[in-house]
Symmetry: C2
Subunit: 300 residues, 2 copies
């Protein structure tokens, strides 16, 4: 591995493995504001975005590449903090920072993280594998990041211990690997955009529909008074970096994987519709209302 | 290959090959101005930066990933042109656009191109392999891009046919592959920052010095009156995307590789100094005066 300092990073991929590659922007003013939380949190969350995508394929992360453009006036302490947060998470997952690019930014901090990983040939868990009759599961609790963002947008400070999943999200790499090794999941995605939107991605890729039980959704408990977030936040709030996956009924899915709770929340259906079932059994259409990517024509 | 639309791109790497990864920013206001040239040229040059890094390792490009943040007011025709230029070059080199990220930009077009490639195990041509006594070579002609930038900065229009290497630089992937397959080059780098700076990178990585003959440097012929660029432009001008490489004396280096001229320009020396020999045989120190990357602490 040549690493930082040659024209390319040179990496070994295990024999009979495929390569996984993901890239994610972290742009000041779009994905974060500098006054919201310390630089180390920005760095941590920047790498989480990439590791979470590797987790969603059931893969093992290998190396990260960071393209970082900084405004001339940015204090060096901010850069040091950012890298400290990013590198601490990288070392937790034994991921090497193997290269990248640097530039001066015309406006604000611009980071693009790329993570490469590997998965045994043909074993990547895609979005397209859900089949009618499969159960739908999520890891952890949902809506906590949305609640934190609401506080920050209202210019209220948030205490790290009360919003741990927002400020130090641990990507579900271990859970993803267990699901892949056990051949348990038929389709998977990470919850970066929000349950309603990410579920729609799985359903579109698999050509199926879904019925979700509102009462089964694990809603996050956050804040000073330890309240449970409301249903809309757990349905549509993004940036929880939990895993959403489907599994055939015949597979026994543990209630916890690597210490993380796993909750069944509904079933995959033959139709193309996404339905939400309330506590009285009434059905309403579930429209994707999470984060909608700004889509250029090529990404549509 | 899952490609655009899953959490990661999934790629196959040939058996007994190592992976090459490179990332390069193309930022409006830093690397280009929108009024300078058509969107297709911006897209072409964006991908050239990545392919040129793969070429510099003697590798074969496989796939590209594009992170693209666009201002809300950007006309769709600009985006279409950018992608057209990028995809046309990608198809020339049989490179798949296998994924990426999109976002809204707070200010100006922000692109980050990542290219992955492969090279047979242990055969990547690094910057660190130059040995005292090796000959130093460059492909093509140098300084043409610097001359084009000078025209553009003075708000003069440039005609594509008179500055082809600047507006449609073809990355030297084929030359790099021939040098690697023939076991010809001991060290290599692409000329993105300028000869004096990129030569200094090879010398630093290899722990050697160099003597360059001013009269041997192939200076580009450009512009309406077909003039040869001056020596400083060929020494310090960046963005030519030619290859700079070293080879042991015993290796016979062809005068042309894949139709591209290859010029011997000097020798690797035991000392650490970089020297320029003028037409009268006088030595002067050659200081790196090309593009100096904005270096954050982690990249130093």
């Amino acid at each position: 591995m040549a690493g930082i300092g040659d024209d390319c990073g040179v990496l070994a991929i295990p024999p009979r493995h495929q390569l996984l590659v993901t890239t994610d922007f972290t742009l000041e003013g779009v994905h974060f504001r500098r006054e919201w939380y310390p630089a180390a949190v920005v760095g941590h969350r920047c790498l989480t975005r990439g590791l979470s995508d590797i987790a969603a394929m059931g893969g093992d992360p290998i190396a990260a590449f960071l393209s970082l453009a900084l405004p001339r006036t940015l204090p060096q302490t901010w850069v040091d903090g950012f890298l400290e947060g990013l590198l601490r998470l990288a070392s937790e997952f034994r991921v090497t920072l193997a290269g990248g690019d640097t530039a001066e930014s015309p406006d604000g901090v611009l980071a693009d993280i790329m993570v490469v990983g590997s998965v045994p040939m043909g074993e990547a868990i895609l979005r397209s594998g859900a089949r009618p009759g499969d159960q739908i599961y999520v890891t952890g609790e949902l809506g906590g990041s949305s609640a934190a963002l609401e506080e920050l947008s209202a210019r209220r400070r948030i205490r790290p211990l009360l919003y741990p999943r927002f400020l130090r999200p641990v990507p579900r790499v271990v859970v993803g690997r267990v699901l892949r090794q056990g051949g348990l999941a038929s389709a998977m995605i990470d919850l970066s955009d929000g349950l309603s939107t990410d579920l729609a991605h799985i359903c579109a890729a698999s050509g199926v529909g879904a019925r979700i039980l509102a009462t089964s959704i694990p809603r996050a408990v956050v804040g000073r008074t330890s309240i449970r977030v409301d249903l809309p936040k757990s349905l549509h709030g993004g940036e929880d970096y939990e895993l959403l996956f489907t599994a055939p009924r015949a597979k026994r899915i543990p209630l916890r994987i690597a210490g993380i709770p796993v909750s069944p929340i509904g079933q995959v259906t033959r139709g193309k519709r996404l339905l939400l079932i309330d506590e009285k059994g009434a059905e309403t259409p579930l429209h994707p209302r999470g984060w909608q990517h700004f889509s250029a024509s090529w990404a549509r």
